[in-house]
């Protein structure tokens, strides 16, 4: 079956109030083209489930979000996502904050169609008071240990971004970490995979070993080719993070005017193609007139191997 489609038709399937899981991690391999399509849509009141990065920040800033289920929201090289901070500090979103491992467990439980999975994580902390629906469970065996019963996090839709995919929905990551994209897909009713490039099935293994084929087609409903679609997050080995762009994005959390200018320039555009053109025009401008810092960052990026492009993540 040919599952190729467009971002617009994916987002047309989503409804207000849906629970949407977004793959990737922090500012790493995020399905940003699909996120931008949501930003262009009238969707609202979404519950977002994520190891959050600018996907969460942008959706919060654009007023698309009612609730976020997360372990953290970070831009990696900028530890705190500034737009998410604003949303939290002004109380515009509901925050279901979990331990990072509990989030994995909730997705895994949903993937396996289990009501919950037990874990020690969360015991003794305010994760339990922040999420008053969480329950404990006692081991039925001789040990009788009391554990957290992490409930399944069922998703209406999952959005993930791969380096490669074929038209039938087999997805391939070529970077250092698969993150939890397979679990997001398995936990969701509808599974949408954007990718840098759609290739022939027979060509998948030309790009990487069999271990990189993390998504098989039974886990995927639709495939969308979105070159540079993870921008400005990193998508190694295809590209690193656009740190200069990320800094510009982060700075707009400080005042409304800057945010509105950013929106007008990059987000309130008719299409992903228009966004990519605006990004290209931006880098052409800074090529012509590079500031010291940006020039340094650029040369560091071009010299670094993909695995060395990023700074260490936060506290995991």
């Amino acid at each position: 079956m040919d599952k190729r489609t467009t971002s617009a038709s994916v987002v047309a399937e989503l409804r207000d109030g849906m629970t949407v899981g977004i793959g990737g991690w922090g500012s790493r391999r995020k399905p940003m083209a699909l996120v931008r399509e949501i930003l262009r849509s009238p969707l609202k009141d979404l519950t977002i489930v994520a190891y959050g990065g600018p996907d969460v920040g942008l959706l919060c800033a654009a007023g698309k979000v009612r609730k976020v289920i997360y372990g953290f929201v970070s831009l990696d090289s900028i530890p705190l996502e500034p737009h998410f901070r604003v949303a939290r500090q002004t109380g515009t979103i509901e925050a279901a904050e979990l331990d990072e491992g509990m989030l994995q467990w909730g997705l895994y439980a949903a993937a396996l169609r289990l009501p919950f999975l037990p874990t020690r994580s969360g015991l003794g902390t305010d994760v339990l008071s922040i999420n008053p629906d969480l329950r404990l469970v006692r081991s039925p065996y001789a040990d009788g240990e009391e554990l957290v019963a992490m409930p399944a996090i069922q998703l209406d839709a999952a959005l993930v971004h791969m380096n490669r995919a074929d038209a039938r929905g087999n997805g391939q990551f070529l970077g250092p970490d698969p993150y939890f994209d397979d679990l997001f897909c398995m936990a969701a009713k509808r599974r949408f995979v954007s990718c840098e490039k759609i290739v022939e099935t027979a060509d998948l293994l030309k790009g990487g070993s069999v271990h990189t084929l993390k998504l098989n087609r039974s886990m995927v409903d639709a495939v969308i080719e979105t070159p540079n679609g993870a921008h400005f997050t990193e998508c190694p080995p295809d590209y690193g993070r656009d740190e200069a762009f990320q800094r510009e994005y982060a700075a707009t959390a400080k005042d409304l005017e800057a945010w509105q200018a950013f929106r007008a320039r990059y987000l309130d555009l008719p299409s992903e193609e228009a966004y990519q053109a605006a990004v290209q025009a931006r880098s052409a401008r800074s090529e012509a007139k590079p500031s010291g810092v940006e020039q340094q960052a650029r040369s560091a990026r071009s010299e670094a191997k993909p695995s060395e492009v990023k700074k260490p993540g936060g506290a995991r």
Binding site: R120, L123, G124, F180
Partner: protein, 255 residues
């Protein structure tokens, strides 16, 4: 040893000493001083520690904190995030986390300041702190010791303290251990009565009074408080020439 040792260098060996006896476990360190300390421990007295590159690889060699390495980078394993979770739930790990707030029982917060529903300041979030503290040894690093950090009561508990661990019971809390707290002023642990925070040593040039004044609760102090040990000449050479030639440590610790 030279007399021009900086406070950051004293802190570095104090954090490094916390890894003594760990053996073959994953050591994770957040903050500049802990990152140097972990590398120092691995190069000096805990050669079997495992270390990631902050991405998804275990590194057999020991790069400087800005990524420089003497030879080729040597990858000895693959540790994507899901394997990190498996490993830390299995207990073979010691983490050093930064504390935005910590109380006398070792309850830790770096999630947010204020009411969680609408915080005055959203910080890192829970991240891995709940799972870390209930599953394997944890230490804390506080670059700026003050009553705002060492508080009577933390706003949100992201890391489990000893009072809460005790309340969970022996079975649930059997893997809970807070090894030590190192600040820019002192080394502390939880060997006080009822596992309350105890002043272990003060860094050279710091008085006990200064630590007491900078702490928002009553510390356990028994008898004469010794001075934190100073780095050896070999340790200083590693810190200065090999691990942090740019001197990032002295920017994190302001005295």
């Amino acid at each position: 040893m030279s007399s021009d040792v900086t406070r950051a260098e004293v802190c570095t060996v104090a954090v490094a000493d916390g890894f003594r006896g760990d053996g073959e476990v994953l050591a994770s360190a957040f903050g500049t001083v802990p990152a140097i300390a972990l590398r120092l421990a691995k190069l000096s007295f805990e050669p079997d520690l495992l270390m990631t590159d902050g991405v998804a690889f275990l590194r057999a060699d020991v790069p400087s904190i800005d990524g420089g390495t003497e030879g080729e980078a040597v990858v000895e394993g693959w540790l994507p995030f899901r394997s990190v979770f498996d490993l830390l739930w299995s207990g073979r790990r010691h983490v050093v986390m930064v504390a935005s707030q910590i109380d006398r029982h070792g309850n830790h917060n770096f999630a947010c300041i204020g009411d969680h529903r609408k915080p005055r300041a959203q910080l890192l979030g829970m991240r891995g702190a709940p799972g870390n503290t209930i599953n394997h040894p944890t230490s804390y690093w506080v670059p700026s010791h003050s009553p705002k950090v060492f508080v009577e009561k933390v706003d949100v508990v992201s890391g489990v303290g000893y009072d809460r661990a005790t309340a969970l019971g022996e079975r649930s809390a059997r893997f809970h251990e807070i090894r030590r707290v190192v600040s820019n002023l002192a080394v502390l642990d939880f060997a006080g009565p009822d596992r309350r925070m105890r002043l272990v040593s003060v860094h050279p040039g710091v008085s006990v009074d200064e630590v007491v004044e900078s702490t928002g609760f009553e510390l356990v102090i028994d008898g004469e408080v010794p001075e934190t040990r100073r780095p050896t000449a070999a340790e200083l050479a590693l810190i200065r020439e090999r691990l942090d030639p740019a001197g990032a440590r002295d920017k994190e610790v302001k005295v």
